[in-house]
Amino acid sequence: MLLQHAATAGAHPLEGTVASYLWLLPLLPLLGFVLNGLLSLTSAFHLGPDDPSADHGTGSHPVAHDETGGGAHGDDHHAVQRHRYAGLVSLIGPGVLIAAFGLALAIFLAMRGLGEMHAPFVQRYFSWMTVGDLVLDASFQLDQLSMVMVLIITGVGALIHLFSVGYMRDDPGYPRYFAYLNLFVFFMLVLVLGANYPILFIGWEGVGLCSYLLIGFWFSEKANADAGKKAFIVNRIGDFGFLIAMFMLFANLGRLDFLGVNATAGQLQFGGVVVTAICLFIFLGCAGKSAQIPLYVWLPDAMAGPTPVSALIHAATMVTAGVYLIARSNVLFSMAPAAGLTVVLIGGLTAVFAASIGLKQWDIKKVLAYSTVSQLGYMFVGVGSGAYVAGVFHLMTHAFFKALLFLGSGSVIYAMHAAYHATHSHEDAQDMRNMGGMKKYMPVTWVLMWAATLAIAGVPPFAGFFSKDEILGSVFLRASHSTLADAHWLGIPGSYILYLVYVIGLAAAFMTAVYMTRMMIYTFHGPNRTGEKEREHLREAPWIMTGPLVVLGVLSVIGGWFNIPAALPVGPIGALDRWLEPVVGESALRAAGGTLPEATHSLEYSLIAVAIVIALAGIGFAFARLKPQRLLPKAQAPAEHGFGRVLENKYYVDEAYDAAVVQPVVDVSRGLLWRGIDVGVIDRLTRLIVQSKDDDAAPGAVPMGGWVTRAVGYLGSQLQSGRVGTYAWVLVVGVLFVLGAFSFR
């Protein structure tokens, strides 16, 4: 392994510090994966017989799983006693994450200590794919942006690992779970640390792979396995776009490393077809990974996985990879205002679309899933409009409060599960109609969830307020002062689009406040609908689970204080702005048209006021209109009708996709391509040649040839009669023939 550093002008100041252990950062969770994976396999694996074709059943073992009932037909969900290696795994799994977080923190402090760091710190390990003029190294790049991501991944990740120790404690697949989770963190770190697009792509697909494995973790249920498969395939549609973008980059710039691309991007024409196409294809990839329209459909289904997985992958990290990618490609996007408008528009539409669906979901995790899709839309509005810092800021705060929301709901589900298990009930533990009044049984969780709800709704001084306000404010200002505003989107002036998105954003903010409050009211307030007998089993989750919640709660409160806008001089103004400036500053300026849009303090105050009013109005609206006491438990709940039903069924988008895309592809493949062409046409032609006589069909050309040959041979064999007289005749005829030939020369 060669450690070579990008020599810009001499060695990088971070060289020789703890940052030279950058490679250890992803390697720690990878080690965790290997260890946990071995523990999982060795405990489940029984060596088979030497001759498997021999009569089996004599020496084979029963199905390896839990000891109680459930048998081969039960699910892989419930066990009576903990996994044999659970203790060891509980040390390794979260342990590597905590170690990684510690290392990340140390590296962060080293970076802080430098003061200004203008060039990224690149470590090249070995040559990966060098073919002709394509030079791809396995190398990592550390700059301010990747540092932010690394801290979020390892920090929030460590908390979620700790939570999982409690949440998954009785699961028979405990080591396998942590193996997958560790592998996920490994890939996610590769994603954010990669120094070129293909290395990023390794992480990109790798997290998709882990998502597949984790969503389908309890794979005995077909629905879970289906969800995992759907996630991977829809992601792949996005990956297709990402690949095309990479191909175009290489074809036009000849480089695929970030430093190289950023340096040579200037060769492309500003706002031209090439750079716009590249950015649009990149965004296609983001739409897949970060669940934007039209590729968001996998995320709600992904809730089939364990709740900590939903927290880590589908809230804090994997889904934010798309936002990271655009922030990383800021140079390209700042050169393509039309692409930026597309991103902003789709982000805004997704935000409001998903929020509307969240209004009518009953499964607590589904509400959060659609909320995530919606908030991701906000992030894309931010990075799409050139406000890269705003987008990343919201990514950060969202990681805190969304993880908290998911883990909190996980605690609630954990309690509900325990309750139903104790009474042997089979009711849905995730449906809010079966909850209610939980604040009495889980007060700590209740408080923390409210902190997160206020954060997501955008109530100051909670985290979400600052980030959401910054995004909306940026869009509003850029609507009159940016290259996007000057550009056109399908003929429509960019400024219209941006103002429209601003309004949509406000609508989505209102809906966010409403559905989140709705969730809180139905879950924690009002009367309890879980059932008489179950009620006595409802209690707060153990401290291994509630502890991380507290930490996240604190972060949800103070997380927004990292980037206080100038209009509110109460604390570190624009800390994140300054931190990310070397990475995105230049592009932000370019996207804004040369100078950053300025706002008078009065305009700023009014924007802030609007945001606060909307948030409070939403909360108030929810409290006023929703009557938890009128709810019935899921089993007895009446069906929705009207537009509510449309919302509850997510606008029937999945059904539409199935009918318009999936079924036709399968049907055409089966009917036309396979049966029609392969068997019908090609094989029929083949049979013309090959078909032998013993089948019912007419013989083909080759056997016919054989038959003809045999016939001719038969005729010839008649000459060999064995009778002397015949031979004599032949002799005479021959002599006459020869004589005649000589005579009649």
Binding site: Q720, S721, G722, R723, V724, G725, A728, W729, V732
Partner: protein
């Protein structure tokens, strides 16, 4: 003189050929073969009358060969008869292949 002798030989030869081709009894075939050979002898003698004694010398060769061939051939027929109890040529196809 020569022409008449040659004509006579030709007739005898032809009779012999027809006999070989059409007769079924192996002994008769052999007699016809002898007839052919003697016809050839006559031809040689006729020509010797005109062109010198070499023709008559040749007759001796032919008669020797005819005798040897008759002996061997009859021996084959006897062996064949012992095996197949018949000398009918139309039924003997041991060489069929």
């Amino acid at each position: 003189m020569l022409a008449e002798s040659l004509f006579f030989s030709a007739v005898l030869f032809t009779i012999g050929v027809v006999g070989v081709l059409t007769r079924r009894n192996a002994i008769i075939v052999f007699m016809c073969v002898e007839l052919m050979l003697n016809a050839v002898n006559l031809t040689f003698v006729a020509f010797a009358r005109v062109y010198g004694v070499a023709g008559q010398v040749f007759v001796f060769f032919v008669m020797t060969v005819a005798a040897a061939e008759a002996a061997v051939g009859l021996a084959i027929i006897i062996a064949l008869f012992r095996h197949k109890q018949t000398v009918d040529l139309s039924n003997i196809n041991l060489l069929k292949g």
